[in-house]
């Protein structure tokens, strides 16, 4: 079975859940419409949630930037006082904050993209819901006609697919923001405890390489700082 067939099965399962337990075809139209309106509200909430998460990360980034500036100042002071060991420690912290900042930038960009997509989905769904409302009244008026049943099935199936799609997008966005919230809380804790040298993620090799890289960037920063202070 191909990958795309599997995807269809996944979406079909969602659609079945949406179209569940409706017997009277006329009722199908109204129940579906109710669900569409509910979903529209959910999408709006989803968009707001993503926006809030993004704002939280923006704030965290500003906080990290303040930390960077502070550590920079401390390293300079330490060097002036002839304490290279302290300067090195400050710069080590600086290097790990810089690494965290890069991750944060990526997450902020991800959320911005997510927000854009959800907003587009919301606008597509709103258009479809409005089209469905008009269609539903037309079909109801012609219900005695033999092809009404076919039309009902067609439009309900079509809109249910859209709803399954948008519903999944909202759920995935929620999962993502939840993950980010957890990571962001962990980062806050690390910041507070002052033990930012967290080379988590990846395997042993990744961690070792990250350490080597951080060490060499500390050496570079230290050398540069000394150079500047000579002037």
């Amino acid at each position: 079975m191909g990958f795309l067939d599997r995807m269809s099965t996944v979406v079909q399962a969602k659609m079945n859940k949406i179209m569940d337990r409706i017997e009277d075809p006329r009722e199908t139209l109204d129940v579906s419409y109710e669900k569409q309106l509910q979903l529209l509200q959910n999408v709006k909430r989803g968009v707001a949630e993503v926006a809030t998460s993004k704002k939280r990360l923006d704030l965290q980034k500003a906080k990290l930037q303040l930390n960077l500036d502070k550590l920079d100042g401390q390293a300079r002071e330490a060097l002036q006082a002839g304490r290279e060991d302290l300067a090195r420690r400050a710069l080590e912290n600086k290097a790990s904050i810089q690494a965290q900042m890069a991750t944060l930038d990526q997450q902020i960009a991800d959320l911005a993209e997510q927000q854009r997509k959800l907003m587009e989905a919301e606008s597509r769904l709103a258009t479809k819901v409005e089209a469905f409302r008009t269609k539903k009244e037309t079909i109801k008026a012609q219900y005695s006609a033999a092809d009404a049943q076919v039309k009902i099935t067609e439009s309900v199936t079509g809109i249910s697919e859209e709803m399954a799609d948008v519903g999944m997008a909202v759920q995935r966005a929620e999962e993502k923001t939840e993950n980010m919230r957890a990571r962001s809380a962990a980062l806050d804790e690390l910041l507070e405890s002052g033990t930012l040298t967290d080379y988590s993620g990846g395997d042993d090799l990744d961690r070792e390489l990250a350490k080597v890289k951080a060490q060499s960037s500390v050496n570079d920063m230290l050398a540069k700082m000394k150079e500047e202070m000579k002037k």
Partner: protein, 92 residues
Amino acid sequence: MIIRILGEGQFRLDDSLVQKINKIDNQIVDHVSKGKKTEYVQDLANLISTIKELAEPVDPVEILPSDIIIPPSDLSFEEARKVFCDEGLIKG
């Protein structure tokens, strides 16, 4: 033929181009079963950009069922695996 890219709406594609889509689909199956993560990411991006390039977006006013469903562009390798394990993309 109507194609839905999850999270991005529907597109109308000429039936004669389905072969192209099927070919990439088979490659993706292969990558997922062999654990080739990088190739999977590349081919999923390739699949989506191919469709966007060849197909016309469907006007949102039209209410139509799709013939093919394409996963969202940010579907991770781990999520793709789950789709194959019959666990579905999202619980429930």
